[in-house]
């Protein structure tokens, strides 16, 4: 059995004062955050970042599902469209060959029924394609929340930078970022196990009915 060599492949020699410098910087950062009352906010970011991650996953999922739905519906609509085109050519040939027989044998009537059914189905596909675009609204709301979080963190970090900068390095700060105002909750990205939210229209209806509305 091959023995495992615990020695790293590349040995890096670190001057001892580097550790000391990192330690001092960490201490300075810790003291600065405490002094500025930002410790709680940093803790808040730590909690919000995983939330931002799940929001981004939600966006990826929703946009993926919408694209899939649209492509499937387009495939089905195109197949029906091709069918109508082929049938039109076929019935055209029959009418040119013998118009009376084409009518008498029911070819024309069957064709008209076929066209009516196909156009109804194509219309349903178009409605579904339209409905699939609702991801724009839902993801837009979620993106706005993530952007707000990023702007909030950026603003706080900028303040930290300005307040801890050496006196001779002070530069005029640009206009502060607009204050973060939490909006309404928006789309629920993780409804599972959350008793405070509904997961579909039937739950909305049940809730309102239970309250007598």
């Amino acid at each position: 059995m091959q023995s495992i060599n615990p020695t790293p492949a590349v040995s890096i020699t670190v001057p001892p004062d580097i550790h000391q410098s990192i330690g001092m910087l960490t201490r300075q950062l810790h003291d600065s955050l405490n002094g500025l009352g930002l410790t709680d906010k940093v803790k808040g970011w730590a909690g919000e970042l995983p939330d931002a991650k799940s929001r981004l996953s939600y966006i990826a999922r929703l946009t993926g599902e919408a694209a899939e739905k649209v492509l499937n519906r387009v495939d089905q609509a195109k197949a029906q469209h091709d069918h109508i085109a082929a049938e039109t050519r076929r019935i055209g040939v029959l009418i040119v060959k013998d118009p009376v027989a084409a009518v008498a044998k029911g070819h024309v009537m069957n064709f008209l029924t076929d066209v009516e059914q196909s156009t109804k189905q194509i219309d349903q596909h178009l409605t579904e394609i339209m409905m699939a675009q609702d991801f724009h609204d839902l993801t837009g709301q979620v993106i706005a929340k993530v952007v707000n979080l990023a702007a909030n963190i950026e603003e706080q970090l900028l303040q930290l930078l300005i307040q801890t900068a050496p006196a001779d390095a002070v530069v005029k700060a640009s206009a502060p970022v607009a204050e973060y105002q939490p909006a309404l909750a928006g789309p629920v990205v993780n409804p599972a196990g959350n008793p405070d939210v509904v997961t579909g229209q039937s739950e909305v209806d049940d809730l309102l009915a239970s309250l007598g509305f």
Binding site: L138, A185, V198, V204
Partner: protein, 129 residues
């Protein structure tokens, strides 16, 4: 009669306004206008005649709850049914909307059938259908 009803669709996302307007049109309600937030909606409601409002909740300037409150405290507008169509799925928001006088509540994403059913139910209740 239902076909002559005038709808106002309120949503800050133009995509959603188009979707709702198209769905209403497919259901036979061809008269529909739109507004991008509560402020614009109130202005339109006060300057023109509408029979039905379909409104989002999360919007800038004036959100759907504020719009609903403004409509319900306005003697000339309070008879207009307001159907909330929103991504807000918290139970407390749904109950709040009902308490403030919303005629119905639909959570996004929704289907064509859901919108059709809710509009039809509200119109029937109001004797407009």
């Amino acid at each position: 009669m239902a076909n002559e009803l005038r709808f106002l669709v309120v949503d800050d996302f133009s995509t959603m306004r188009r979707i709702v307007r198209n769905l209403l049109k497919e259901s036979g309600y061809t008269e529909a206008d739109e507004a991008e937030d509560g402020v614009a909606a109130l202005q339109k409601l006060r300057n023109s005649n509408f029979d039905f409002v379909v409104s989002d909740i999360n919007m800038p300037n004036m959100n759907g709850f504020q719009l609903l409150m403004e409509i319900k405290k306005d003697e000339k507008l309070k008879h207009i049914p307001v159907l909330m169509v929103t991504a807000e799925a918290r139970k407390e928001d749904i109950v709040l909307a009902a308490q403030q006088g919303a005629a119905g509540y639909i959570v996004k994403p929704f289907t064509k059938a859901t919108l059709e059913d809710k509009v039809s139910l509200i119109l029937t209740k109001m004797g407009l259908k």
